[in-house]
């Protein structure tokens, strides 16, 4: 993983988000945060802890439980000179705010012939295996990535979280910024100096020659684990993290597959009509003449997320599932594989 500066600290993903917000809010007085329990509580995940102390309740605004309403208010504020960062506590609650995000925020610039703009960030999250059951475990990146006018960011590490969130805040368009709930406490190196990460630039998280694993968000770590395990088979896997699904850095993905000739696309959203479909079909199209095996996809099992841990754990992609597919694609025997 590239790291632009040797001056780094190890901080958590949550701290990285927090820092990005604090730095941007210091820089630009038009930025404010709005959502449920964002102020004194700093959200249930404590990601925003302390921000209200520095910026006050006028800029870190606790709302009623009104996702549609406060997303709409955010849109109006963004159209009139502010840069709201809206907190949607669980990605599952996007269902309540889709009209504001999709019919309003995403279209206003276009519908007004370019006269109005909506610089707003909708921060929300994704991911299962927290034993939170069907209404608190979904990963809706496919829905928002389907919508022209939105940008969709899936940060992976603390480094990306900070650099991409700062870019999101400075972007003049509505950005849906989707964090992995299980990442919040994970640590990673983050530069001391200010930096931004541009949208539409995939990151090669690991180089390899035999197969490309395109993985988003929570699945990057799964892909990296799988890549390590595949070494035992003598297979060298390249892991690519698109980081933004809209815009999508096709080039990096396609170039990798042209090199490796094989690909698996992994995402934690439901598999059917999900993120993996778009990326796999792009690869299958644009790297067609380079492919030695079909492009495979791995998403969440197409079931509502069950509560019982013994069931829930079956629904998400695992390194074992990845390597089983990888071995098949690369013509390795898979019968000895346990647990997949």
């Amino acid at each position: 993983m590239s790291m632009p500066s040797p001056d780094t600290r190890h901080i958590t993903f949550a701290q990285a988000i927090n820092e990005a917000l604090a730095e941007e809010m210091r820089r630009d007085p038009t930025i404010f945060i709005m959502g449920e329990d964002v102020a004194e509580a700093g959200t249930p995940f404590k990601v925003l802890a302390g921000l209200v102390d520095e910026f006050g309740t006028a800029r870190v605004i606790d709302t009623p439980i009104s996702e549609q309403g406060f997303c709409g208010i955010g849109v109006g504020a963004a159209m009139t000179g502010m840069r709201p960062v809206i907190d949607i506590m669980f990605g599952d609650f996007l269902t309540l705010a889709m009209d504001q995000i999709v019919n309003q925020a995403a279209k206003i610039h276009y519908m007004s012939g370019g006269k109005l703009k909506v610089p707003i960030v909708f921060r929300t999250n994704l991911g299962a295996t927290r034993r939170s059951a069907a209404q608190h475990s979904q990963s809706f990146q496919a829905w928002v990535s389907h919508i022209p006018g939105l940008k969709v960011v899936l940060p992976t590490t603390p480094y990306e979280a900070k650099g991409l969130l700062k870019s999101a805040i400075r972007d003049d368009n509505p950005v849906v910024f989707i964090e992995d709930k299980l990442s919040f406490q994970q640590k990673g190196p983050v530069p001391t100096a200010e930096y931004l990460i541009p949208f539409g630039q995939a990151e090669i998280k690991r180089s390899g020659n035999d197969i490309t694993l395109v993985a988003t968000s929570s699945m990057v770590d799964i892909a990296l684990q799988a890549a390590t395990l595949l070494e035992a088979d003598g297979l060298s896997a390249e892991v690519i993290d698109p980081r933004t699904t809209l815009p999508l850095d096709k080039e990096t993905i396609i170039n990798s597959v042209k090199k490796t000739s094989r690909a698996i696309v992994i995402d934690e959203g439901y598999e059917r009509y999900g993120i993996t479909a778009e990326i796999a079909s792009l690869i299958a199209d644009e790297a067609f003449y380079y492919l030695e095996a079909p492009v495979k996809r791995l998403g969440a099992m197409d079931v509502p997320v069950p509560f019982s841990p013994v069931l829930e754990d079956l629904t998400v992609p695992t390194p074992e599932k990845v390597i089983k597919i990888a071995r098949q694609l690369c013509g390795r025997i898979t019968t000895s594989l346990t647990g997949a």
Partner: protein, 333 residues
């Protein structure tokens, strides 16, 4: 509810005349604009549909004349009146309706999406209730930026069915936002009478959220305007949001294509409103009754407005369509 068309208690200074004549003209512009839109539709010259504001002119004009240029409005699918009242020009409005590049949205928005930030118009909205959040957010923005701007949210009584309106009114009330919710009760949402779909009391709803609420005769521009002045002043002084219920009526169908409508409302009702409750007549008759104006003055205005509208529609008809390359511009800022 009092639907008075009586004289107000105040005595009228001479610049009052100018003011009311200006409002008369504004209302007439909307009226004749809409007549022309209907004509364009009936003669197959306009793509799509449009929802005419005819009959409701006093609401938009009475309200917008109480606003500053830098105050905000949000509008609805029935938005031409609001846009014109807040300062949009007839020619570019027509251009938008015909899908021309000279339109307010370069032809990309159309009748239901006219926006004109220069005149403080944050846009018409084709989602019923869809602009309630936007208007409230504009109010929050004014508060955050420490301006004394006010945001006015126009919506039909049908939007009272959308939960979002209660969500945002709650926040506007809590945070004392400078937002005025203007409910245009024209008795119908599409083809359904409002009583069939509206339980309890309209005005008690905002009141339950602690919002200052008033109700006026939406056909009497003077009543609308005087109440508006008061509510706007209040909001500007950071005293919080208000809700204004305006009782009004649309003369035409739900949209230009809604011709046979006797199955949902009697012709007599339409005739009654046109004859007895017309906002233009009510104002002109009052001004004449007060001996402030002569009938001739209204004829002159009529001629002027006719010219504006004729010129406007000709401009739009002659204007070029957007270049095909426009299709993928403005997706992102």
């Amino acid at each position: 509810m009092t639907q008075t068309v009586n004289q107000p208690a105040v005595t009228v200074p001479s610049n009052e005349l100018e003011k009311w004549m200006h409002m008369y003209q504004q209302m007439l512009i909307i009226r004749l604009f809409e007549e022309q839109v209907n004509e364009l539709y009936q003669t197959g010259q306009m793509p799509g549909l449009a929802h005419l504001y005819s009959g409701e002119e006093a609401v938009a004009v009475g309200m917008c004349e109480a606003l500053r240029h830098d105050d905000y409005i949000t509008s609805t699918h029935r938005g031409h009146g609001h846009c014109l009242a807040k300062g949009a020009k007839v020619d570019r409005m027509f251009a938008e309706l015909l899908g021309k590049a000279a339109g307010y949205c370069r032809g990309k928005g159309g009748s239901m999406h006219i926006a004109d930030p220069v005149s403080g118009n944050l846009g018409a909205n084709a989602i019923v209730g869809g602009s309630a959040g936007i208007a409230t957010g504009a109010g929050l923005s004014a508060q955050q930026r420490h301006t004394d701007q006010v945001a006015v949210c126009f919506f039909g009584e049908g939007a009272l069915g959308q939960g979002v309106i209660y969500e945002v009114m709650n926040m506007a009330s809590l945070w004392k936002l400078p937002v005025i919710y203007v409910c245009e009760n024209n008795l119908y949402s599409e083809y359904t009478g409002y009583k069939e779909v509206t339980a309890g009391s309209i005005v008690d709803r905002p009141k339950a959220f602690g919002i200052h609420t008033e109700e006026v005769d939406g056909q009497d521009v003077r009543q609308v305007h005087e109440t508006a002045l008061h509510l706007v002043e209040q909001a500007r002084r950071h005293q919080g949001p208000a809700f204004l219920l305006c009782n009004t009526y649309r003369y035409y169908g739900h949209h230009v294509g809604d011709i046979n409508r006797s199955y949902y409302r009697p012709k007599e009702e339409e005739q009654y409103w046109r004859d007895e409750r017309d906002p233009l007549k009510i104002l002109s008759q009052w001004l004449i009754g007060q001996k402030m104006a002569e009938p001739l003055m209204f004829e002159q205005i009529q001629q002027e407005v006719n010219q504006i509208v004729e010129h406007g529609v000709r401009f739009a008809q002659n204007a070029p369509y957007p270049d095909p390359s426009e299709v993928s511009r403005h997706v992102y800022a």
